[in-house]
Symmetry: C2
Subunit: 192 residues, 2 copies
DNA sequence: TTTTTGATTGACGCGTCAGTCAATAAAAAA
DNA sequence: TTTTTTATTGACTGACGCGTCAATCAAAAA
């Protein structure tokens, strides 16, 4: 079976396997062997390509956040008004692709690892900064100086719905989260 | 030094040490030896009293949540109106005693362990249920049927500020969180 | 065909950690 | 005083996980 050009294939498979494994175990306490098995390779190969377990986990995190980033960008495209773009940000945050049990569990686990790992911390901060700057940019023309503080609150609301979903049993209810968050924004704007 | 009646003293010291250790490491990945050393005893003694590491961690979690519960109850006492009690709930949630880096880190870590451990999950659900029922009870006379949905949103807001604080560097800014959350409630009530 | 290069893994060393156990020491009870 | 009970720990073990390494295998290049 040894064919040339396997590296990118294996890397992707391992990262995907890591996300799934973290999601299914609900914790970063996954072994390289578990990840490798799920990806259909040996643990030695995982080390061969990634060097260390931490590198695998960081790559998984990067992938989750970049998926979210892509969605955010895509959702805002074509929207004409600021309020539409705000709604698009909220919708993307709770879209079927991102607001999923395994992704939520992984995302939560990364929050914890950000307490220790510099890489994880940096990546999460980038995501925070981008979300924040997006929100402020759209809010400013609508509510002026209050945009900064309100962006923080909206972000907290989004993160809050994420973490609470992590504790729920059933499949995520993105619509309720969207309704609440968008509702908050609408009331904000209506009041000026 | 062996004196009788050490058990409750040791238990308390070990649980406190566990909270501090988790907070300082920012993760549940703490060893029994670390906890025991911080409490000034051997790891064997920790096992002697608690039987297992998981029991220590669960006890630590129970303690954090019961501290929060006490504060919540105390804060509501003496308040006459529903809106005052709502503000008291928010203030207690972000009080100096609870909204502290090590407690926040431990709390976050417990959220993760709730994905795996039945005990942790159960404890967190109790906290959620109590907060939810408190909020609904006070909101109902003010906004009627919308109370249920809004209680969920307020809870998400609180949890969201917690998790976002976990990523920040400096010491927690409880006032800002209180201002935002209480502000949300005020606007809610003002609109009827 | 021979050589090189990339893919792949089984086996293993090294460290860590949870939990056990037997032994010691001192207080309390008999 | 002798016996029992409680507190306490050093030493140990069995399991587990990361990361390494030498070896194998097949495709590609020479």
């Amino acid at each position: 079976m040894p064919k040339v050009g396997m590296e990118p294939v294996r890397r992707l498979a391992l990262v995907d396997a890591a996300i799934t494994e973290i999601g299914s175990r609900g914790s970063l306490d996954v072994t390289v062997t578990q990840i490798a098995r799920r990806a259909g390779v040996s643990s030695a190969l995982a080390h061969h390509y990634f060097g260390s377990k931490e590198n695998i986990l960081t790559a998984a995190m990067r992938r989750i956040l970049s998926m979210l980033g892509d969605d955010l960008r895509a959702a805002q495209k074509g929207k004409e008004t600021a309020i539409e773009r705000l709604h698009a940000i909220v919708a993307a945050s709770f879209s079927e692709r991102n607001f999923r049990p395994d992704v939520i569990a992984a995302w939560l686990a990364f929050y914890v690892s950000a307490q220790t790992s510099g890489d994880a911390r940096r990546l999460l901060k980038v995501y925070h900064a981008r979300l924040r700057s997006n929100l402020i940019h759209e809010l400013r023309p609508l509510i002026g100086a209050r945009a900064v503080r309100e962006a923080e609150t909206i972000a907290a609301l989004i993160d809050g719905f994420y973490i609470r979903q992590a504790l729920r049993a059933g499949s995520p209810d993105g619509r309720a989260a969207i309704a609440a968050t968008s509702g908050y924004i609408d009331r904000l704007v209506a009041q000026g």
